[in-house]
C-alpha cells in the first residue's frame, strides 16, 4: 500500500532538495475578477507549507488550479521536476495529489467506504470484475477500516455509516482521511478545521502533524494562525492574487503575517526566500 510517500525525505526542514511540487506564474480570472495574478509556489519534501490570506485572496483558486479542479488561464505545474497538466481532478489524484476542499467534497448520503473510494472504486478480480463490473465491496470496506484506524481517527467506528449521520467533525475527518489515505506525493487541505470545535480541530491538527512527520508534504490553508505557526515550516501569504511574502514561523511573528496579509505592512522578506 503506497500511502504516505516512502520516497519523501524524513527531514523536518526543507533542505536544499528539489521541490516536490512547483507552480509557476499561475493566472486565473473569473470574468472580471482576477483571482490569481502570477503566483509562484514551491512545496518541498517533508514540509507543511501554510497558505494564508484574506477572504478572496485566491487561496482556494490556487489549489483548485494545482489539483485539476479548475484550469488556470496560464501557468505551469511541475511535479517532481516534470511538467504536468491535469485534465480534471482524477488526473491529479492519479499523480498522487490529494485535496480536502473547503467544501469537503463528500457525498452525504453515501457511506464512509463509498466516499473514501468515490471515483476510484475497486473491482473484483476475474470475470465478475471484468465482465460484470462487480465492485469488491468487502476489500474496500476492510481497507477503509484499516486506513481510518491507521490514521488514528477513533471517532469513526462504523465504516458503513452514511456520512450525513456523522457529526461535523467526523465528516471532516472522513474528508481528511480520504486525502491522507491516498495522497502519495502531496496533500492539500483547504481550511480543514473551518467548521470544527476546539477539540475536533485539535484532532485534525494532530493528524496533520503525524502526516507531516511521516514525510508527506502538505499545503495547509487556514485562518487559524496559531495552529499554522505550530504546524507549518513556511507560510506563504497571498494578497490580491499574489504571493506577498513567504515567512518562516521560526523567525517571524504572527503579527507580522497579519500585517502583510491586510496590506498594513509591505513584505520584508520578498517572495522566493525559503525561511
Amino acid at each position: 500500500m503506497a500511502t504516505t510517500g516512502e520516497e519523501a525525505l524524513g527531514t523536518e526542514q526543507p533542505g536544499p532538495s528539489a521541490p516536490v511540487l512547483s507552480a509557476r506564474d499561475m493566472w486565473k480570472s473569473y470574468g472580471r475578477v482576477v483571482a490569481l495574478r502570477g503566483v509562484d509556489i514551491d512545496v518541498y519534501p517533508g514540509e507543511v507549507l501554510g497558505l494564508v490570506g484574506d477572504n478572496g485572496a485566491g487561496k482556494s483558486t490556487l489549489i483548485k488550479c494545482i489539483s485539476g479542479a479548475e484550469y488556470p488561464d496560464s501557468g505551469t505545474i511541475f511535479l517532481e521536476g516534470q511538467e504536468v497538466v491535469f485534465h480534471g481532478p482524477l488526473a491529479a489524484r492519479h499523480a498522487g495529489i490529494e485535496v480536502v476542499h473547503q467544501t469537503l467534497g463528500v457525498a452525504p448520503q453515501l457511506d464512509i467506504t463509498s466516499n473514501l473510494y468515490l471515483g476510484r472504486e475497486v473491482r473484483r478480480g476475474g470475470f465478475r470484475g471484468s465482465v460484470f463490473r462487480m465492485l469488491d465491496v468487502r476489500t474496500m470496506r476492510r481497507q477503509a477500516a484499516e486506513k481510518v484506524k491507521s490514521l488514528g481517527i477513533a471517532t469513526i467506528q462504523d465504516i458503513t455509516q452514511a456520512v450525513e449521520t456523522l457529526s461535523g467533525g467526523q465528516r471532516q475527518a472522513v474528508a481528511v482521511a480520504r486525502a491522507a489515505a491516498f495522497g502519495s506525493k502531496v496533500l492539500i487541505m483547504d481550511e480543514p478545521t473551518a467548521a470544527l470545535g476546539v477539540r475536533e480541530s485539535g484532532q485534525v491538527h494532530q493528524l496533520i502533524a503525524s502526516l507531516r512527520d511521516s514525510g508527506l508534504p502538505i499545503i495547509l490553508i487556514s485562518h487559524n494562525m496559531p495552529a499554522l505557526w505550530d504546524l507549518a515550516n513556511r507560510v506563504a501569504i497571498l494578497r490580491l492574487g499574489r504571493v506577498a511574502a513567504i515567512l518562516a514561523p521560526a523567525e517571524s511573528s504572527m503579527e507580522e503575517a497579519v500585517a502583510i496579509m491586510t496590506g498594513a505592512k509591505a513584505a520584508s522578506h520578498p517572495p522566493g526566500t525559503n525561511g
Binding site: 453515501l110 468515490l118 471515483g119 472504486e121 465491496v137 449521520t165 470545535g197 476546539v198
Partner: protein
C-alpha cells in the same frame, strides 16, 4: 441549553463565584465537550429516533410495510384478493408501468425527473409497429431499432439536461409534448394490428412474431404470468445489481447526492447524467415491447397517466425527489402498491374517483416521510 453538566459542576464546586479561574481555551473545550455530549444524548433518544435510523438505512423498508399492509387490508375487505389468479393478473397489468419506473428511478436518483417517460414509450412502440407492420421490417430488427430509438431520445433529454444545463423538469415537459405529437402524427391516430386484425394477430403471430413474444403466457398451477412480466423482473434484477454493485451505480448516487462533491472526486458528472437518460430511454424501449406483447397491437392512445404514475411509483417506493436516495427494489414495491390500490379499490367496488385520491395521499405521505428521514442529519 439548561444542562451543561461541566458548567454546573464548576459552579457547585466553587460556590456562587463565576468560573473565571478556568482559562478561556479550556472553558471553550469544556463547552464543546458538553455540547457534544448533549448532542449524543439527543441522538440516542426515543424509539422514534430508532425508527428514523432504521428507515434511513433501509430505503425499501417503508414501501414494503405499506405494500404488505395495503394488500392485507384489501384481503380483509375482499377475501380472495390475494388469490394466485388475482396476483397473476395484477402482475400482468403492472409489467409496463413497472418497467418504466426502473428508468424513472435512475433519473430521479440523479436528482432529475422524466415527465416524458410514457410518451417516449408510446412513440417507441409506434415505431416498432410501423416498421414491422407497415414497412415489412423483420420484427427482431424493428424491436432493436425501437429500443435504440428510445436510447437516442434519452440522449436528447440527457444532452439538454446535462450539456445545455436546462432543468430536467422543463426539458422533459417539452419532449413530452414533442413525443406525443410525433406519435400521433406517425399513426394518424389509428391503432395498428398485427396480421390484419387483433384476433388473427395474436392467434397467428405470438409464436412467430418477436414483437409479440412478451405476451406469451407461462403457468405454474394457477399462477400465470407473461414473459413480459419476467422481462420486467429481469430488468429489476439487472438494474438493482448495476446500482448497488458497480462503480457506475455508485456514481449515479453520488451525482444526485452532491454534484460538486462528485465532480471533485473526479466523476465526469455531465456524461454520467447523460448516460443515465440514455439507459432509461433504452428501458422505455423495452417497456414498449412489453406493452405490444400485452395488447397485441400498437396504439397511440394508451393511458397518458403513465407519465405521472411512474413518478408516483418511484416516490412511493422511497426514492427521494432530491436525488441520491432510494433503491430499485423499493420502486418495485412502489409500483406494486399502486397496482394493489388500483385493483383493490375496483374489487371492493369503490368509485374510481378514489384511486387518484388514494395515490395522492400516498405520494404526499411518501414525500413527507422522506423529508423526515432526511432530517436525520443534524
Amino acid at each position: 441549553m439548561a444542562n451543561l453538566p461541566r458548567q454546573d459542576q464548576l459552579v457547585s464546586d466553587r460556590g456562587p463565584e463565576p468560573p473565571r479561574a478556568v482559562p478561556a481555551g479550556q472553558r471553550e473545550a469544556h463547552h464543546a465537550e458538553a455540547l457534544e455530549a448533549a448532542r449524543h444524548r439527543h441522538r440516542w433518544q426515543g424509539p422514534l429516533y430508532s425508527l428514523q435510523r432504521l428507515l434511513h438505512r433501509h430505503a425499501a423498508l417503508g414501501p414494503l410495510l405499506v405494500l404488505v399492509l395495503s394488500a392485507g387490508v384489501f384481503e380483509l375487505l375482499h377475501p380472495g384478493f390475494l388469490r394466485l389468479e388475482n396476483i397473476s393478473l395484477m402482475l400482468q397489468q403492472l409489467a409496463v408501468l413497472g418497467s418504466l419506473a426502473i428508468g424513472q428511478t435512475m433519473i430521479m436518483l440523479t436528482a432529475g425527473i422524466d415527465l416524458s417517460v410514457g410518451a417516449l414509450m408510446i412513440l417507441a412502440q409506434m415505431i416498432m409497429g410501423e416498421l414491422a407492420i407497415n414497412s415489412g421490417v423483420d420484427p427482431v430488427l424493428a424491436l432493436v431499432i425501437g429500443v435504440a430509438f428510445g436510447a437516442l431520445m434519452g440522449l436528447v433529454n440527457g444532452a439538454l439536461t446535462a450539456r445545455v444545463r436546462l432543468p430536467p423538469f422543463i426539458v422533459t415537459l417539452g419532449t413530452l409534448g414533442i413525443f406525443t405529437a410525433i406519435g400521433l402524427r406517425l399513426s394518424g391516430g389509428a391503432t395498428l394490428f398485427f396480421g390484419g386484425s387483433a384476433l388473427a394477430g395474436s392467434a397467428i403471430s405470438s409464436s412467430s412474431n418477436a414483437l409479440l413474444w412478451t405476451g406469451t403466457f407461462l403457468s405454474i398451477g394457477s399462477f400465470t404470468v407473461t414473459t413480459g412480466v419476467l422481462l420486467m423482473v429481469a430488468l429489476y434484477i439487472v438494474f438493482a445489481y448495476v446500482l448497488a454493485w458497480t462503480a457506475w451505480g455508485r456514481h449515479v448516487y453520488a451525482v444526485g447526492d452532491d454534484l460538486n462533491a462528485a465532480r471533485l472526486a473526479g466523476i465526469r458528472v455531465r456524461s454520467l447524467i447523460a448516460s443515465v437518460y440514455v439507459v432509461a430511454g433504452a428501458i422505455y424501449g423495452l417497456a414498449a415491447w412489453v406493452q405490444i406483447g400485452r395488447v397485441g397491437s400498437v396504439s397511440p392512445d394508451i393511458s397518458s397517466t403513465l407519465n405521472l404514475d411512474s413518478i408516483t411509483a418511484v416516490v412511493i417506493g422511497g426514492t427521494s425527489l432530491f436525488g441520491g436516495r432510494g433503491v430499485m427494489i423499493g420502486t418495485l414495491f412502489g409500483a406494486l402498491i399502486v397496482q394493489v390500490f388500483n385493483t383493490g379499490l375496483e374489487l371492493v367496488g369503490v368509485n374510481a374517483l378514489y384511486l387518484p385520491l388514494a395515490e395522492g395521499i400516498l405520494v404526499i405521505s411518501a414525500v413527507a416521510l422522506d423529508h423526515w428521514i432526511r432530517a436525520i442529519k443534524d
